[in-house]
């Protein structure tokens, strides 16, 4: 699709990249208030798809063919395979109808807004000389990372924590793709580490389930006898 590049002015292409990055932040917010596991997984699929498009767009405007591989990985693997596997897992565990008690949606959303503002301010301070759009891109990527962490911290269910972790990793890839050319090796190794984390956590989930009949990670604390 490199043929598109000459058709677009630099300004337009950068704004499209900006819109896609902003979309990723928006989807992160969507994830924050999902209280059903199946919808969390669906939003995660959407999140990865938006990332795929964003990286693909970066590949076009940077004329960097290796980024297509990253985009393909994101679209095929993260947007389709992993969500499907997670759905299967959730059904197997029999918790797909489960409603997760997410304490204080509005508070979480407010915290999320605060995090986005924080990352904007940080980037404004630390990268004052950089180009405004590039700076915004990095700021958006940073807010996706922070929102992923917020997701991991606020949820009790291990599946939702996986979803938060995956969205955090998406933020990392967005930041890396925005920077001119991340080596493919790095990208592949990141992808593999995610895969391994996914497998480990998946196996772990079933083990937890086998023992405690639930995937609520607080039972682990009770088991350790260290509930505060």
């Amino acid at each position: 699709m490199g043929f598109l590049a000459p058709l677009l002015s630099t300004e337009t292409s950068l704004s499209v990249a900006h819109v896609l990055a902003g979309g990723l932040v928006l989807v992160s917010f969507m994830m924050l208030y999902q209280d059903r596991l199946s919808s969390v997984i669906n939003v995660l699929a959407l999140h990865s798809a938006v990332l795929g498009f964003a990286v693909g767009w970066q590949a076009i405007i940077q004329n960097a063919p290796e980024l297509y591989i990253t985009a393909g990985l994101a679209l095929g693997f993260k947007a389709i395979v992993i969500p499907l596997a997670l759905h299967r897992m959730v059904e197997k565990l029999g918790i797909h109808r489960q409603v997760e008690a997410v304490g204080g949606i509005s508070l979480t959303m407010l915290a999320g807004i605060g995090l986005v503002a924080l990352s904007m301010v940080v980037m404004l301070r630390t990268a004052a000389h950089a180009d405004a759009l590039a700076r915004e891109d990095v700021a958006l990527a940073l807010s996706v990372i922070l929102l992923g962490m917020l997701m991991m911290v606020t949820r009790r269910n291990a599946v939702s924590q996986i979803a938060g972790f995956m969205s955090l990793e998406n933020g990392l890839i967005l930041a890396a793709a925005g920077a001119q050319g991340m080596p493919l090796v790095v990208e592949i190794s990141v992808a593999f580490s995610i895969l391994i984390a996914f497998i480990v956590i998946g196996v772990f989930l079933f083990r937890i389930r086998e023992r405690f009949d639930t995937v609520d990670s607080t039972t682990l604390d009770a088991f350790r006898g260290e509930m505060q």
């Binding site: 995090l115 924080l118 990352s119 301010v121 940080v122 404004l124 301070r125 630390t126 922070l146 962490m149 917020l150 991991m152 911290v153 009790r156 924590q161 990670s217 607080t218 682990l220 604390d221 350790r224 260290e226 505060q228």
Partner: protein, 685 residues
């Protein structure tokens, strides 16, 4: 001359390797100690040569080791040369001593690998010219000496001493690390030349001074950071005790001088006050401890604390004078401090050698079991007597010369403008005089109980003279004590380039004065003629002895003596019973202990009757075995260390809860830390 010192250090490391590989063979002892002696001699010559070179600038030697952008910087200026002389003279004497004394070591492979490394580390600390090197070799010095202290690790007391020493050494290094971090500033200029060029703000300089006082003071033994010293120094083998007390404390003093006088920028007047008070208190408390102690090596370790206090008084005075621009007076005080550092190395090493000889000859370090050794150790008793007289500051020996210079500097204090100093310096002067008097009492007790009188135990009665190497080392150092005492002008002139480079002034040259007089300030103020005093003492002493022997009665009369109320002692046929009625070390120290130590140290004397526990006093006329118990405590433990240990325990207990949180909480902590750092960056970054 810097490369010479580095090659010497390499040679020492190689000797350490030899000690490690063949430590079990008897010949290795001679090779290692003899080699160390030879190398120390070369380093000593190099240091003298450097000092004789005069004002020629010395290039800094940079080796491509250590931190990549810094390298290893070495520099040998006049200050470093003086301390190299002290270090290598002490090292040479200790090595000579150890050639003979080391024969009695049961497990020499625990000592031989570390002994040369310890000496090399002390030399390298002195020539290091950047903070990284300095701290690396400082830590090497601490660890090597720790390993040497732990040589006799099968004794419970030694292990406790080792733990205390390790903790205090690391705390001190931490303080020095922070001080260097502050001096290096935000850009991290760790070489000393850049630190000298950058002028730290007064606040930074003050914090650095306090940190160095803690860091170097804990190594040197300033009260209340001294608690490890009287445990660790005696626990080591005697040649190592001599090195630790005589030399390693001097390296700590070198660190203080290097950082505070050379690197920390302009001096504020109150720095001098802080150092003066710390030094004065250390001097008096150290010698009081020494007076109450019965273990001969522990007495010497406490006496080291006293002498370190005196040296710090000199340094504090120099700081105070320097802050007020009285550079000549500052030079006098610094000269006195450096002179005393040299002297302390000389006589304290001799005393530790003698204590080692006593320990080997009698198998005990308990003063109350010694006595009459002067008849059995006739040769080594002489250098011991000279060293004891020197440390007690008797003229014409070197201890008097340096303490006299120190008091001359104190007498210049009325010219100081600050009221606080005007009041404090004479008070500290009184403390110095008091500690000198106590030191005299302490060493009268030490020498009198150990060498005079009659043996208080069978072991003391069966003591034998020490070997020829040990005697040689002791006699050599004692001769230097006399030489430095009779010719103090030479030493003062030797120290002049140091004060010239640090303070920009020096004590007037003593060369060419008639009768080897020293006149530190001006002839109208004060002068001291050690040679005349020496001649006077020698002549009058000889005349008195001659008169006594010539004109006094030569008839030996045997007569019954008063037996302190015991019956049977009057009979000349039972001389052994009389031994128990000699002065005991606790008895000799009792008046001073009662007057000065009953409040601070809570010294208590008890008489315990062994007949029945409930019996306080036996009925009159009924003999009951009794013993005398003297108890005292070190207030530093109760005031500082016990609360500190309790506080650290509490914090550890609180922090321990952090080990048992849920994964989500840990994630939360990471998240909160990240957000907090980002927020910090956003608001103040």
């Amino acid at each position: 001359m810097t490369p010479v010192i580095l090659f010497c250090a390499l040679a020492w490391f190689a000797l350490g390797g030899i000690g490690m590989l063949w430590g079990r063979r008897d010949v290795t002892r001679v090779v290692v100690y003899g080699g160390t002696l030879a190398v120390a001699g070369i380093a000593l010559l190099a240091a003298f040569f450097q000092l004789g070179l005069g004002d020629a600038p010395v290039p800094t030697l940079v080796l491509p080791l250590g931190l990549p952008w810094l390298g290893m910087n070495f520099h040998l200026d006049d200050l470093a040369a003086v301390f190299l002389i002290i270090t290598n003279l002490g090292a040479a004497a200790a090595s000579l001593y150890a050639i003979g004394y080391g024969r009695h070591e049961h497990e020499p492979w625990r000592i031989l690998p570390f002994y040369p490394v310890f000496i090399a580390a002390m030399n390298l600390v002195i020539v290091a010219a950047d903070a990284y090197d300095f701290l690396v070799f400082w830590e090497l010095m601490s660890l090597a000496s720790w390993a040497l202290v732990m040589a006799h690790h099968n004794q419970q007391e030694t292990r406790r001493a080792g733990v205390t020493y390790l903790l205090m050494a690391d705390a001190g290094t931490l303080a020095l690390l922070l001080a260097f971090g502050l001096l290096a500033g935000a850009h991290g200029h760790y070489d000393f030349a850049a630190m000298q060029a950058a002028h730290p703000s007064p606040a930074v300089g003050a914090v650095v001074m306090v940190l160095v006082l803690i860091g170097a003071g804990s190594k040197a033994g300033l009260v209340p950071l001294h608690v490890w010293l009287p445990r660790a120094h005696p626990a080591a083998p005697s040649q190592v005790s001599a090195l630790m007390s005589g030399v390693m404390t001097k390296v700590a003093i070198y660190a203080f001088i290097r950082i505070v006088f050379d690197l920390a920028g302009p001096v504020a007047w109150w720095w001098g006050l802080v150092v003066l008070i710390a030094g004065g208190v250390t001097a008096v408390l150290g010698v009081l401890y020494a007076l109450m102690e019965d273990d001969i090596k522990t007495i010497l370790a406490y006496s080291t604390i006293e002498n370190v206090g005196l040296i710090f008084v000199g340094l504090g005075l120099a700081l105070a004078f320097k802050a007020d621009g009285m550079v000549v007076a500052a030079a006098l005080a610094l000269t006195a401090a450096l002179f005393h550092a040299l002297n302390h190395m000389l006589f304290k090493s001799t005393l530790f050698f003698g204590a080692g000889a006593i320990q080997h000859a009698t198998g005990t370090r308990d003063l109350s079991k010694l006595g009459g050794l002067i008849r059995r150790m006739q040769i080594s008793a002489v250098p011991m007597l000279i060293a004891a007289m020197a440390i007690a500051a008797l003229p014409p020996l070197n201890g008097f010369a340096s303490e006299w210079l120190l008091l001359q500097a104190i007498l210049l204090s009325p010219a100081l403008p600050q009221f606080g100093l005007k009041l404090a310096v004479p008070a500290v002067g009184a403390l110095v005089a008091l500690s000198a008097a106590f030191a005299a009492a302490c060493f009268v007790r030490f020498f009198g109980i150990a060498y005079l009188g009659r043996p208080r135990s069978g072991a003391a009665a069966a003591a034998h003279e020490t070997d020829v190497f040990s005697r040689g080392a002791m006699i050599g150092l004692a001769a230097l004590c006399i030489a430095a005492g009779v010719l103090p002008g030479l030493v003062v002139d030797l120290l002049a380039p140091v004060t010239q480079s640090l303070l920009g002034a020096h004590v007037p040259s003593q060369r060419g004065l008639s009768w080897l007089t020293i006149i530190p300030v001006s002839a109208s103020r004060s002068s001291y003629d050690p040679l005349l005093i020496f001649i006077f003492i020698a002549v009058s002493g000889s005349l008195a002895a001659l008169a006594l022997h010539r004109f006094g009665s030569r008839v030996i009369r045997r007569a019954p003596f008063w037996g302190c109320g015991f019956r049977g002692l009057e009979e000349a046929s039972a001389p052994d019973r009389a031994i128990g009625t000699q002065y005991s070390p606790s008895g000799l120290a009792q008046p001073i202990r009662r007057v000065f130590a009953s409040v601070v140290f809570r010294a208590r004397d008890d008489v315990v009757f062994r007949a029945r526990d409930d019996e306080m006093m036996p009925a009159s006329g009924r003999p009951v075995p009794t013993s005398f118990v003297s108890r005292w405590i070190d207030p530093a433990w109760g005031l500082f260390y016990t609360p500190m240990v309790a506080l650290i325990g509490q914090i550890a207990d609180r922090a321990n809860r952090l080990q048992f949180l849920s994964i989500r909480r840990y994630l939360g902590f990471v998240f909160a830390a990240l957000v907090a750092l980002l927020a910090w960056n956003a608001l103040w970054g």
